[in-house]
């Protein structure tokens, strides 16, 4: 480190120490403990923990439920982040085009950000209640045509809609700011050359929006992993029949409801590796296609 700013070489560390301490206590220490427990058989009330080497990993890797949960997690990650970014992009494009009422819409679309994900879950659970919700009249006519409590497909539809609703505001703001930063002159020049709206979207707006899209993808992918917890816990508890049991929720259930601390820690360690890997891939491959210069 160059000491241009600080004459005392320890001063930067002192200044950073509160932050580092918090990071250590609430991030590095739990991560370390997770890896420690992953190699031990740990009793819930402590005492008698014994080193078992890779046995926990072998057990988890041989467990079909783990692979099923991981598969669901990856599919959800792709579909949830993809669908919420796509919807937010469409809305941002519309708001940017100065269609009627777009100033109002820009304001309204930010509101869902103020609702906690668990509340979103409870609200949508009620909206999609097969007997009392918006689709209840449909059930009156065709009994059993909509029941997210039993039919896994219906359950997933319900979760995706709730997720999109709650994920829109943040992505929407990022994308809208990006769109509004694109100079008007480019649009005008392209229009004079005879490019229609679709052409301008493809050749001007999207390429110039890549930095914002990249940020949105990275954040949404990470958020779809952790944010799914609140939705699953309030809406389905992993059901029906384990159909929506994703890895984060499975870890919680294994660790806190079933007192299997070692199994939960092992899966946490593996999830961390997966997330780190996915984020690294995003930076390695996706970021290369991002144009930061305008």
């Amino acid at each position: 480190m160059s000491n241009a700013f600080f004459r005392n070489r320890w001063l930067p560390f002192w200044l950073a120490s509160p932050q580092l301490l918090v990071m250590f206590l609430f991030f590095y220490l739990p991560v370390f403990l997770a890896f420690f427990w992953a190699f031990h058989l740990e009793r819930p009330f402590g005492g008698g923990s014994q080193f078992v080497g890779w046995a926990n990993f072998q057990r988890v890797l041989a467990d079909q439920e783990f692979w099923a949960a991981l598969r669901r997690t990856v599919v959800y990650m792709l579909l949830a982040s993809g669908s919420s970014i796509l919807v937010a992009l469409i809305l941002a494009l519309a708001a940017d085009r100065a269609v009627r009422l777009s100033p109002l819409a820009r304001n309204l679309l930010i509101w869902p950000k103020a609702v906690a994900i668990a509340s979103v879950g409870v609200i949508f659970l009620f909206i999609f209640n097969p007997f009392l919700g918006v689709l209840a009249p449909l059930n009156e006519v065709f009994p059993g045509i909509w029941n997210p409590r039993i039919n896994p497909l219906h359950t997933w539809i319900m979760i995706y809609i709730a997720n999109i609703w709650s994920a829109i505001p943040f992505t929407f703001i990022i994308l809208l700011t990006g769109l509004q930063a694109i100079p008007e002159t480019l649009h005008k020049a392209a229009a004079m050359d005879g490019a229609g709206p679709w052409r301008r979207l493809r050749d001007i707006q999207l390429p110039l929006l890549t930095p914002q899209l990249f940020v949105a993808v990275v954040l949404e992918v990470a958020d779809s992993l952790s944010g799914s917890f609140g939705l699953i816990d309030t809406m389905t508890q992993g059901g029906p029949g384990g159909a929506t049991n994703m890895l984060v929720y499975k870890i919680y259930v294994d660790g806190f409801k079933a007192y299997d601390l070692s199994g939960a820690a092992t899966q946490t360690a593996m999830l961390m590796v997966v997330v780190a890997g996915i984020t690294a891939l995003q930076y390695l491959f996706l970021e290369k296609r991002v144009k930061y210069e305008r």
Partner: protein, 436 residues
Amino acid sequence: MRFPKTAALSAALMTAAGLAHGAEIEFWYGNTGNVETAILDACTAFNAAQSEHEVSCVGQGGYEVGMQKAIAAYRSGQHPVLIQFFDAGTLDLMLSDAVVPVEELIPDVDWDSYIAGARAYYETSDGRLFSQPYNSSTLLFYTNKTQLEEAGITETPETWEEVIAAARKLEEAGHECPFVTDAHPWRVLEQFAARHGLPIASKHNGYDGLDAEYIFNQGLIAEHLTNLASWREDGLVKLNPDTKAGDYAAAFNSGECAMMEGSSGSYAAAKKAFGDKYGITVTMTPMYEGHERHNTLVGGASIWVMKGHEEAEIEAAKAFLDFLRQPEQQLAFTAATGYVPVTLDALEALKASGKADAPEFATASVGIDTMNQPATEDSRGIRLGFYVQFRDIFMEETQKAFNGDQTMQEALDRAKTRGDELLRRFEQTYQSAKLN
């Protein structure tokens, strides 16, 4: 200045606290609703009855949450003296080395006063009681008398054959939900197996060793669960998600469903919801014809004393446990909740009071009756590791069967396999621990 005033105040408070001889202790419980009210009433009564000790009762919002918090609190040395734990966590606690057996702690109590059905669940295989039974419930059969009579059923069904015959009559009479259950293993597996004298796992449900294996995927138990699935196909049995209420007890209470198997602890809420609109009947749960009836298991929860507290605190804990054990306390609790009194002296007090037939004690005699049926080695209780997790697995697999993704037999086989894996891991985790 503000600071000295606060300091003086806290100094005064500390002196005041120092003057009292006893200790202030915490008791963590998990129940909510009318049971929580009854627990808090008991705490208030205890604090009012004597001035030496002070117990503050802290609600945790649920049994499982309470257990989670207790584990975290114990690991960081912040745990309460007394804590209520639910039946399924019994073995985890016995092996935890975090609790003191009540029989060891308070040896001079007549623990044999507890009826056998309630004792067996919480004692070691050599008969030492680990925790004091508190809100003891068992499984009972509830019917909506009014709706059954409207469908022409005058006798409360006693066997599954009669239950299904009644359900068909109700269905023919246009009733949409004759029988409701959530298919929770406590209802459809554990209590069913116990009263039919069948084990769900070898080694007498694990009482004789950690190397037990699940064996419920055969015989009458498998038959019964397969029946449940096919009765649901026929519209005779409904599950939680099939009901408007979304919950079996709520569906019964609202009159949506006519019959259910439910905890005796559900009685007060059902009675209140029925009001004058419906009559209610509570009886022993149905048997299959040609099988001898054995006892049902005690459910609900018991109170455990946790290790690592000072003498004064332990004294306070003992005093509170003594207080709760008194017959009049048990009966007040029963009257408020529908939980069952479980000591002989409480039963005698009930008989002596002449209120045994009063509606608020409706579950007491039938509850005791069903828990006092002839016991077998397999109807003592469940002593299986990671049992809470097994219950989730059982629910998950059977739910898939009810949804039609697999047959009930496949579901039971898979639940057995996954359950056995849990048992083996539990065995390994507690390799060095001895249940003494």
